[in-house]
Assembly symmetry: D3
Homo-oligomer: 276 residues x 6
């Protein structure tokens, strides 16, 4: 399958291996075969096993990779996640890159899952943002889905999101929306960012498909939801944390976008142990 | 200058822009010029301003980028970091990618700086690891230096680091080191990982250039330092956190490696405000 | 600006120039300067002048390119379109690639414009399809816009278009739409292809954002438009030609998609004359 | 085999699939297998089946592709051309790109074949030009061969073709030819463009290997052929259409070059039907 | 200008610089400006100055490069070839790659020039072969021209050269030539390799454009030249050295191809001296 | 395995094959199978067989390649090195590129082996330099190892080598070394170039890990070795030839670097014979 992840894997392996894994090449004979286990040293949600498998195969397609769990599974400290068999050299050379992918993506899935659980009683979706690590947009958005979240637009190209700056130049929300509506493919939705209830009103009038409530307090959000009353999707955004996300959900918004899912996720501790 | 960062910037911009910034193209007239400010919403250490400048120029080399601070400076909440002038379209299209770089790299510089400060009285270096984000090895290691830390090896190709698995196959530390010594360029140092004082003894005998004390307690580390007695560099590694790093420094090790500098740094909050 | 067109220009120049323009290098002295005119030998709509300029500059950024008309202008046989000044060698080497772009894109803009004019009295948009030349999706869709048409989705990634095959597997239109709705970003619209009025009914019920009437006759289309009654966008598709497009418009559909805009456009005759 | 077609296929798939076939991924379960038929909806000459196969395999090398006809075969409306078996997702994702290649290349083979048939009684070759779609030079020239035509030079690098502009700078045909002869590899032929009988005379004297008669009328061409009398290959070029190509052939020229084979070919209608 | 040399320069710089010139970065302050001289430590023919300039500019386009001689000039030990001004860091980082290009290309130009001089009284051309360093075909063939030699075909794509193996499969020289003649573009010449006078006769009969005399002794070559008598170009090939090349020229062949020009050229000694 | 050699093979094949091997395609039927032998026409050390195998497989992975010797083996004139079976077309198309790699790498291994043998009685290593062919650094350094030599640093990135220019700017050897020591990873060694015994003294004091004696005479070298007395590695460099290398070894240096291993190696004569 054509996929940008292959380019990223190539880039990651090249930056780590460079002109060769000098340690492995000078201490491990070429034909030693081995078996290794990938195991978790944290509790969380696993994400990235198929990418891990691709990394191993990019190094050596003779490696056998057997998953013991699947992306999205809850894993706990000490649990084995996969068994790998192949040349000791290949496993050792791939180890760090494999773990770097698994640790970061599982970190994102884990934090996402916490947000999703925090709003489990509400009819609301947790969505990500474009605040992703440069070059890792697609795998990070994948990890959000694995964690139970949903994706906002993938980039600047697949949806219209009119922010305050666009509005200021265009003159008004209505003008900006109609200028966009006229020219974008009919298949694309238009979202507008609002900061005040006055802007919400204008956004409703503009017939935007989605209205973002940016950094509003809970009361304003509740009012905005009532004003919009189903005529557009409503997205809450800005300053949302694990301890206030449920209150935001309670205002009746359809979507809550959380930048921290990707920009402030920390690694899940995962390691590989070789059994020689 | 030839630099892998250009490939990463290209990749990051392509994943965000794809076939075009549809919002900006349909709401902002082509020739509107503007001025914007990059400002911090957190306290920390700034890193990545030159990369930010490169990102803007990759989009539009007519953009003027004026730094108000330099990489490594301590910045505080509300402080302006740079002023940018150019086409409104170009600024808006570049915004997110620029901030994604700045936020992540400044996050790394900031946490590094905390570790460095925590051991400021000791003759010890805080160094990073290979636990970096796939594809971002070089900029992340740069951010560590900006934060006052030092770099461990860049990848598998520029130094020998013999770990337990290598030792197990080779048969002993002494064999592994001598096998490597014989074959690697004379310009490369050899580091050996040890977990017990017995292994430390063997490492000393093997004439390794650097001895890593992996996951030892403070007492063992102190003893190891005495045994090594200057015959090799000593690196402490494993389980080091902000609250125990000073105690580790006190054992007299030369280097303390901290994976969290890169695998668990969270973003520094930085934003761009356009003044139309 | 980051743009896929640069890759295409590179590819086009490399395939034409290969290891060098042997004729020019062996018959034209290196420093001869010249002036050339690009002129039309047909009536039509011009498209691709900025791309032409980019091609010249990729060969030699010392070339001066002055447009006498702009993309979208109606041009007539014998009319000068641009004046180019620079090294004779550079102009001659770039000539064919420049003209190949201009001729194809202007051919598309010209045919598009004929369709747009044919429905000028109706509230309907002429849109393109994904039946574009491999590798030329974006410039060809640009030429459609230049000719007064609009773009359908850019590719498989930026909108959902559920066709008969998808429906057959999913079991029903309603199931297919709800399966997609649940999982795609909230920013994306969902379009469904229908071939019968029964399917139109089901599509309405599924709350699809856009309903495509595929290869229906005029009467069926009129009925479908009435049934849908504004609850979704309506797109007519299949078998549409210049001589029946007005009748299709008369049925009240919102959009008419025409594959021939791109898959069967013929070149507009454009040439370059050098004045030595 | 090393081949530029692989780059083009990659580019074509990337522009269509981008970040993923969102419709297929959200409506078709991953493991559904299916069988599809590629069939013609037009009469013509088929070209591009091996490229179609490569496109399928680039998406999923588990796809089985069975040709029912071969490139160059005459096909008729309703005829099945190939049977494909594999994952439904893979087939649906590849469909449009496969058809875009087949339709364009078969369109070129079909129009070429008409020109070739029109001169079937004469000892003359129909050849293409460099007026190809940017990026598609090689597959389009392949389609010309499939249609029974022959190729002119592939690009600026593999033969010398001295045109009026080159002559004007060099001072005369004789000077231009001798300047080129002296410097190009001895393996390359030299062709000269002529517009008058006087230029033909000069071209003969210059010992050009090939003489092109550009935009001459039939009588001039006949005379030129007599003057050249076998001392060089003779190519007719300019303003040649299906209805006058036989008359041109009658003048005794060796080659007739036709830009329309590639710059104005329209698609042959070919589709894929999935049998679930 | 589009040119494969840019890719090679990129590749050469990346393999040398990798993640950075660690010595220069840690010992030379960023803003020290300097002046350097490129000078020869050998007698010979210089080639590659424009490539040297490109390498410097790829590192830092602020570098000023002033040529004191031109490609093809005879240079002598101790002679200054160019003056370079710019940042000390940039000059030091580029130094080795610049010299590696200059040394190899000048080595080729120098040896070529010796062969050319050795046959200076004869009407014969010294030509190269495809025995070039992988990846350096074009610059090495350029260096041959700089040294006064001529180029044989550039690769497998731009001329037909039928060797013994092709003949063996085709059945005879006549069949092989006519099979190729029928199918290659009319712009391409056909060369045939012969090892005996019988094969020469057959090659003449086949109307090959060029006949190669492979590893024949002087007497056979003289006879072959007489037999061919101007009906085709004649190329001598195989076992030609500086001390027998004049005798080969004396046989009356048109071309002498010499693999050693590229496969066994040694470097000309050239160095860079920085004047701080 | 991820390896830069794949990029080089791709580049080499593309430059040779370009748009296709026109001779083979027009004279050899597609399905003829054949067997070929690679044989040596010189005595020497073979290097590059695995690369040769990769080249064949890049053209056609159906080719079977059987090695009769291994890299590093001594081979003699007339000896068969490998047997290849597969399509005649594939073998003929790959032939030249395969041989160009084998000839150059074996040439390097052979000359290296001569230097290594010349110092066989001494405890000294023959090492290469960065004077390699642009783009071929890694395969050329590999060939040096195959010939029994050792590698100096791979590039500017993996070790510090402070030369006279760096020293001049830094002010002194001691300053340059301490400036580097402070900033480079602790895993990297630092080498200093010295031209006089005074500089050697300073280098010893600076605690450089390696001291290079540049262009010193034998007596100076002997003295330097005594002064250094094991406190650093000692490398002799400059003006070393086959006939004086043993004398240099006798001075007691640890390493002798020889630029000629790569910059002036000539090809070993190797050819392929097809048995149809």
């Amino acid at each position: 399958m054509i996929s940008a992840i292959d380019d990223l894997i190539e880039m990651a392996l090249r930056e780590d291996i460079g002109t060769g894994d000098i340690t492995t090449e000078t201490t491990i004979p070429e034909n030693v075969m081995t078996r290794a286990v990938i195991l978790s040293k944290d509790d969380g949600i696993i994400a990235g096993l198929d990418i891990a498998c691709k990394v191993f195969h990019r190094i050596d397609d003779g490696i056998r990779f057997e998953k013991l769990v699947s992306d999205g599974d809850e894993i706990s400290k000490g649990q084995n996640l996969a068994i790998i068999k192949g040349k000791a050299r290949s496993l050792l050379t791939a180890e760090r890159t494999v773990l770097n992918f698994l640790q970061r993506l599982s970190g994102i899935a884990t934090i996402t899952s916490k947000y999703v659980n925090a709003v489990s009683g509400y009819h609301v979706k947790i969505v990500d943002t474009r605040k992703t690590t440069p070059g890792l947009r697609m795998p990070e958005k994948y990890a959000v889905r694995v964690g139970g979240g949903h994706n906002h637009r993938f980039g600047l190209y697949d949806a219209v999101l009119i922010k305050d700056n666009h509005i200021a130049v265009a003159g008004s929300i209505i003008r900006a929306v109609s200028s966009a509506r006229e020219r974008v493919p009919h298949t694309m939705k238009i979202e507008v960012e609002t900061k005040t209830l006055g802007e919400v009103l204008e956004a409703i009038e503009s017939k935007a498909d989605i209205i973002m409530l940016d950094n509003m307090n809970l009361e304003m959000m509740s009012q905005a939801v009532k004003m919009i009353n189903g005529s557009a999707f409503v997205e809450a955004s800005g300053g949302i944390k694990l301890d206030n996300v449920a209150s935001v959900a309670q205002t009746g918004v359809d979507l809550i976008s959380v930048g921290a899912l990707t920009h402030s996720a920390t690694s899940l501790d995962i390691s590989m142990e070789i059994e020689l």
